[in-house]
């Protein structure tokens, strides 16, 4: 199976640990991934202002690029890219007037009517590859590791584009179980990470960080997995601002644990880009070789 892939900007810069580990995992599972030859920023956020069509240009252009590449489906990894592209795609499918306006503005592009399907990587794992196949391919099951999902907002809301139930999702729990780890739910799994409050109101943002980390600790989890570079920043990197007792709670991109469990080359996981505690936890549990200390 060939997979047409849209990376997004952050995965090419600050979140290489997300992309590299996901691509290494797909290679380990025997899938061929083709990155779109031409692509631009997805727009980063779906504009909620109904007449703000200008901000739909970026995601729609990405979808046109996918269509030009002959892709029936385009897969994304970043929750935010997924959300923005999927919602712009819905708009192009369902709102004839806005579709016409956008197509007429982009006279240099072929018309687009929402023909491409936008798929998140987790949907690909669940619906096309299947948990059983992943389980069968495990080289290093994550036995004994208590992992909690952190969905954040963009994977689940609004429900029209959510990859699972917005109130009782199971996709990441099933994923964690498929890796041989112990899936552990916790109270804040579907809450907001604080999003861009980190810039506008850092204290309010840190409240979210604290809430999520404390709720996870209360459930006795070893680590969180997530699918969004902004969540990773707010819940992972921002922990250094909290000075929480008991040290840092390790946060991983889900694809990093997938790559470890599938026995992919460790370089692909780029743990150096994770916040403190991530690499150390896996070393401690004997899941990766201890790195040479400087």
């Amino acid at each position: 199976m060939k997979i047409s892939y849209y990376p997004g900007c952050t995965l090419k810069s600050k979140a290489r640990n997300f992309e590299d580990s996901a691509l290494a995992s797909l290679a380990a599972l025997g899938f061929e991934v083709t990155e779109l030859e031409r692509w631009n920023c997805c727009g980063a956020l779906f504009s909620l202002t109904t007449d703000d069509l200008l901000h739909q240009l970026a995601p729609v252009r990405v979808l046109i690029r996918a269509q030009q590449a002959g892709a029936g489906k385009v897969t994304t990894l970043c929750s935010q890219c997924y959300n923005t592209l999927a919602r712009a795609n819905r708009l192009m499918r369902e709102d004839e007037e806005k579709r016409n306006t956008l197509n007429q503005f982009m006279t240099e592009e072929p018309d687009y009517h929402g023909q491409v399907e936008v798929v998140h990587f987790l949907q690909l794992l669940r619906d096309e590859i299947g948990w059983e196949r992943i389980r069968a391919a495990l080289k290093r099951p994550l036995t004994g590791l208590k992992v909690a999902p952190f969905y954040g907002c963009m994977l689940l809301r609004p429900k029209e584009v959510g990859i699972d139930s917005p109130v009782k999702p199971s996709i990441l729990m099933d994923f964690i179980a498929a890796l041989g780890a112990t899936p552990t739910d916790f109270a804040a799994a579907e809450e907001c990470c604080g999003a861009y409050q980190v810039l506008a109101a850092p204290e309010a943002g840190l409240k979210r960080t604290r809430r999520v980390v404390e709720a996870a600790r209360a459930s006795g989890v070893d680590a969180l997995v997530l699918s969004c570079p902004l969540c990773e920043y707010n819940i992972g990197k921002q922990q250094q601002e909290l000075a929480a007792p008991g040290g840092a709670l390790p946060v991983f991109y889900f694809s990093q644990l997938l790559a470890v469990a599938l026995g992919a080359a460790e370089e692909s996981c780029r743990f150096d880009l994770n916040a403190a505690g991530a690499r150390e936890l896996l070393e401690e549990r004997g899941l990766i070789a201890a790195a040479a200390r400087k």
């Binding site: 900007c9 810069s13 920023c41 240099e108």
Partner: protein
């Protein structure tokens, strides 16, 4: 369309320079036509060969709302075209310390944060007289890919029309130049054969040969020059001269 027969072979056609109608010989370039109409270029005119980017023109065709662009020295006048020269665009070019600069995406974000205001409207690409995919290299810079931005923007002539159309007020051409300079000086693989050649020259390996040339008469030099073995018109990269004493 008004055409007027003249003594010269060309017919006169009407064009509108900054809104005023002039009759100019067809088949002139815009630059020649403007001069024919009586204007004199003090600035906004450089190489007259389509390379330097000094003579950007924006124009419209009769009855068409679209704005087109071209270099005045390269674009031929059309009947009833409405045009104006854009000799300069006051986009900000931020100074930086090249020697200390680290060649990655962070420097773009630091020097030109406005790059992240791009909404992918593509007006920059549509106006580019060199058909550079401007929006695509801005996209590459947003994800920190200097090599890709350098490659896409390679044909840029720094005319500034992209910036003139940008609703995000991005000085695309200056950012692209930054990318090319960082890529060229700090990321692109070094040309090892060049360094080796410079080494051979400075070691004096060619001193005797050059000395020999210096003693030759003009006639002898001409003979050596015209008698040298030439590369055939149709050949591939594997071709080598029989003798290569100079290299």
């Amino acid at each position: 369309m008004t055409t007027v027969k003249t003594g010269i072979a060309a017919e006169l056609i009407p064009i509108y320079i900054m809104g005023k109608r002039y009759l100019v010989p067809e088949a002139l370039t815009i630059m020649k036509a403007i001069e024919y109409a009586g204007y004199q270029f003090i600035r906004g005119c450089g190489c007259r060969g389509g390379v330097c980017g000094a003579c950007s023109t924006v124009f419209r065709r009769e009855g068409d709302y679209k704005i087109y662009s071209g270099l005045a020295c390269q674009t031929v006048v059309e009947p009833n075209m409405h045009l104006a020269q854009i000799p300069f665009y006051p986009a900000l070019r931020r100074p930086y310390d090249y020697a200390a600069a680290v060649a990655d995406g962070a420097i773009v974000a630091q020097l030109y944060p406005e790059v992240f205001r791009c909404v992918a409207c593509n007006a920059c690409t549509k106006i580019c007289p060199m058909d550079v995919q401007v929006m695509d290299y801005i996209g590459a810079l947003k994800r920190g890919d200097l090599a890709l931005a350098a490659s896409i923007s390679f044909d840029c002539i720094q005319c500034g029309l992209c910036a003139s159309r940008c609703m995000a007020e991005i000085p695309q051409y200056h950012v692209a130049q930054l990318a090319r300079r960082l890529y060229g000086g700090k990321l692109a693989p070094r040309a090892e054969h060049l360094a080796a050649m410079v080494g051979r020259i400075s070691s004096g390996a060619y001193r005797a040969l050059l000395g020999e040339l210096k003693t030759m008469s003009a006639k002898q030099l001409r003979e050596v020059y015209t008698g040298r073995q030439m590369e055939p018109a149709m050949t591939d990269e594997s071709w080598r001269p029989d003798e290569n004493v100079g290299l």
